[in-house]
Symmetry: C2
Subunit: 467 residues, 2 copies
């Protein structure tokens, strides 16, 4: 592997500069105004695949945003790793809270990142992490050191729930056939406690519309006598969580897979510090489901979160209206065994049931996804653990995290393989928030660790089949 690391050392600055160029493209999938930027970004990713030495690079069209594909097939008898990532990003708003233009990356040192961090939307989630793979592969291919076959699949709709990827994979099973999927779209517990994400929560995401009158009304002339959609929506939202932090939707917990005491103990080996957690986000106090600690609440328990709310007059000054409509975006994080479609149905039924008869309720359901678990006996997990321990020279722990990558469980269903979540971000990276950033140390560490994964995975696979 010496050649590989020599190549990486020589090309260090170029790797970084190429990433900065990609970060300048506002490939926001949630806003259709950015569809041209999506195409531009897919092209840029494709160019970088070619640069990395991948073969059969193509931009595959879907009913939504295109998927970038590339591969390097060495030999039929070698294991095949499918690398998954996404080139789309979250909307950057609220823009006024960014210290730089979110699409004009700058490098700034921080306490956590004395070597500097790249501040830009998508730097950690997920362009920076996708780029680690492209550069790890480049260093393996250009030095003729790649020990496995590799396929690369970078999509452009992860931040909106991957609505088209499932069908695309189903229709191209052979193209994506592999032994394991490798994904870097998660974070480490910390630089001192490297982790591999072995659990992800699932997701349901819905938009609720409450309509009262057929138009906005003067609150002086109608106030006190007509249903106010904002008030009714607030009341409905308030009722969705009880005083013990439990979600009140009937049937919501029915399918929840409770963790065994052993697994719960193992999870709690993570040196999670509530004070540090609180201080890192400037919050006065924590809150959540009774009977669980913060680590558990954010990883192994399902939750209901209000992601947005709007209605009525929201401009400067005072406008005395009762709006015709009020809206909320509500999502639920799910744990293993909860079915997102079923939960969406329960949510919709419950909302219609609790709404007073003088308003109309409309609920739109966005694409969801199931939760995911990777067992610690899986070779993919073992290879990743060994690679991390080699790269960090520190014991690496399994880690369950609260985020969702809905496509992971879908890929498992269709391709019948597990995914290894080898992420290099930190929870302080402010992904989905203003001032998202990604440590330069993390970026290079990822490029260093990934080749070991290929090496150990190929070895372990071989040992297993021979053993």
């Amino acid at each position: 592997m010496d050649k590989v690391y020599e190549f990486q050392k020589k090309n260090k600055d170029r790797f970084l500069n190429e990433l900065l160029e990609i970060l300048k493209i506002p490939s926001i999938s949630a806003d259709s105004n950015y569809s041209k930027e999506i195409i531009k970004c897919a092209n840029a990713i494709s160019d970088n695949c070619v640069l990395s030495g991948l073969d059969n690079v193509e931009i595959c069209s879907t009913n939504g945003n295109p998927i970038v594909y590339g591969e390097k097939i060495i030999a039929k008898d070698l294991p095949t790793v499918l690398v998954y990532g996404h080139y789309d990003v979250q909307p950057p708003d609220p823009l006024n809270l960014w210290e730089n233009d979110p699409f004009q990356p700058i490098i700034r040192k921080t306490n956590i990142h004395p070597e500097g961090a790249i501040f830009a939307r998508g730097s950690a989630d997920d362009k920076g992490q996708v780029f680690m793979h492209l550069k790890a592969l480049e260093s393996l291919i250009k030095t003729s050191s790649l020990p496995c076959n590799v396929k690369l699949l970078i999509e452009g709709e992860e931040e909106i729930g991957s609505p088209n990827l499932g069908d695309f994979i189903k229709n191209n099973k052979e193209k994506f056939s592999c032994d394991v999927i490798l994904v870097s779209d998660t974070h480490l517990f910390s630089l001192k406690v490297p982790t591999i994400t072995t659990g992800l929560r699932g997701l349901c995401y819905l938009e609720v519309e409450i309509q009262g009158a057929d138009r906005d009304l003067h609150s002086g002339l109608y106030g006190g006598a007509v249903p106010n959609p904002i008030y009714i929506l607030s009341k409905m939202i308030a009722s969705l969580i009880d005083s013990e932090g439990k979600i009140t939707i009937p049937g919501f917990y029915d399918q929840v897979d409770e963790l065994s005491n052993k697994d719960r103990e193992e999870l709690n080996k993570i040196p999670f510090d509530e004070e540090i957690f609180k201080n890192s986000i400037g919050i006065k106090g924590l809150d959540g489901e009774k009977g669980y600690n913060t680590l558990e609440r954010t990883s192994i328990r399902p939750t209901l979160d209000i992601n947005g709310i709007w209605g009525g007059y929201t401009g400067e000054g005072a406008k005395t209206i009762i709006p015709s409509k009020a809206y909320a975006k509500i999502s639920m994080r799910l744990v293993p065994n909860q079915d997102p479609d079923k939960i969406s149905q329960l949510f919709i039924q419950h909302l219609k049931k609790i709404a007073p008869p003088n308003v109309t309720v409309n609920v739109t359901s966005f694409q969801g996804g199931k939760a995911y678990v990777l067992p610690s006996e899986h070779i993919g997990y073992k290879a990743a653990k060994k690679a991390m321990e080699k790269g960090f020279n520190l014991e690496t722990l399994p880690y369950r995290t609260g985020g969702s990558i809905p496509i992971i469980s879908l890929m498992e269903e269709v391709l019948k393989v597990k995914s290894v979540l080898l992420g290099f971000g930190l929870d302080t990276d402010a992904i989905h928030s203003p001032n998202e950033h990604y440590g330069i140390f993390n970026f290079y560490k990822g490029i260093e660790v990934i080749p070991y994964f290929y090496k150990y995975y190929q070895q372990m696979k071989k040992d297993k089949s021979h053993g």
Copy 2:
């Protein structure tokens, strides 16, 4: 008075065209981006005062938007009527619900307005009604028929609670000294049941900000463990009204002046039809304080209304965040004897008390105003009733309405005179809403009735002082 009505008949079309020009100016006081339009509108009103034959017309500067003043002093021994109105308008949003540009007036026939109605922001509230006065005065002055002294005060901040008018009047008491104030900024019960507004509700208007973490958070990584400001705000809002429709702020009802049985009976003479009311706004059911009917809930009872709410992601698609902050605009309509400053204080205290300790609550209070009542023995009321009955040839009833014109009670305090609320709008005019309009019949009827008010008021005043 024949000369007056001949003049009106001849100049009918010009009156209307002059109004249409004024309606083209987006004089939105709630949005500081429109401050140039405010100045433009003040100038246009001033030009129209000169055209009407008023003397000493001036644009008086204040700490906010200017006030237009004009007068016609005939003789010291005649009574003086102060006409109050406003040239500022509500913001037109949501713009997409307008059938025409709100500042490009069009005339369209409707079921209620077979003679046509003017569709434009400000057509009914209050430019159209201010214009009736200008044109009534023009027809009286140009035919040398004005029976009283007249002063005209048209302000530009009514829609934001008249923050500067109070001081301006206090500093210019002599200028505004008068026997009665005449205001057209209210509506009739219907064209078949003409009314004079004898009661207005007061107003408190506040903006609430709830802050949790110091930045927006990824709902997957933090959901379930940190306070969500939208959820907390919703819960706080939900708790402000109980299951009987009572406002839960301690002390809120303490100063409420309950109506006597006699006054309540008189109010209920109005042939109010709940079905018509419901159908007019396309609503499935009514709601409000237990023990009161809809007419009472919207006129003699205090209310709490959520006028706007916002927080988190409100764009297209799905963004999985827990926002740092959530906001609401909340107003309360007050009845006689409730003090808006006191009620604002109670509201702020209560909100801070019910907020959980892990969030920060900030409340901003906008300008409010007290409720108002005009007794039926007042000469101003009697003259107005006689003028209405002459103009409509129908019995005219006293009417209490739920809107607020905070400056009315302030003017009473400073100038020690009562206001007569002689409005010609209809509750279907959609003021403060998309597609605001004002009937052409109503516009001309106002111009016809106002001269009778001057005539009867002067006569009754004279009879009283001689009697």
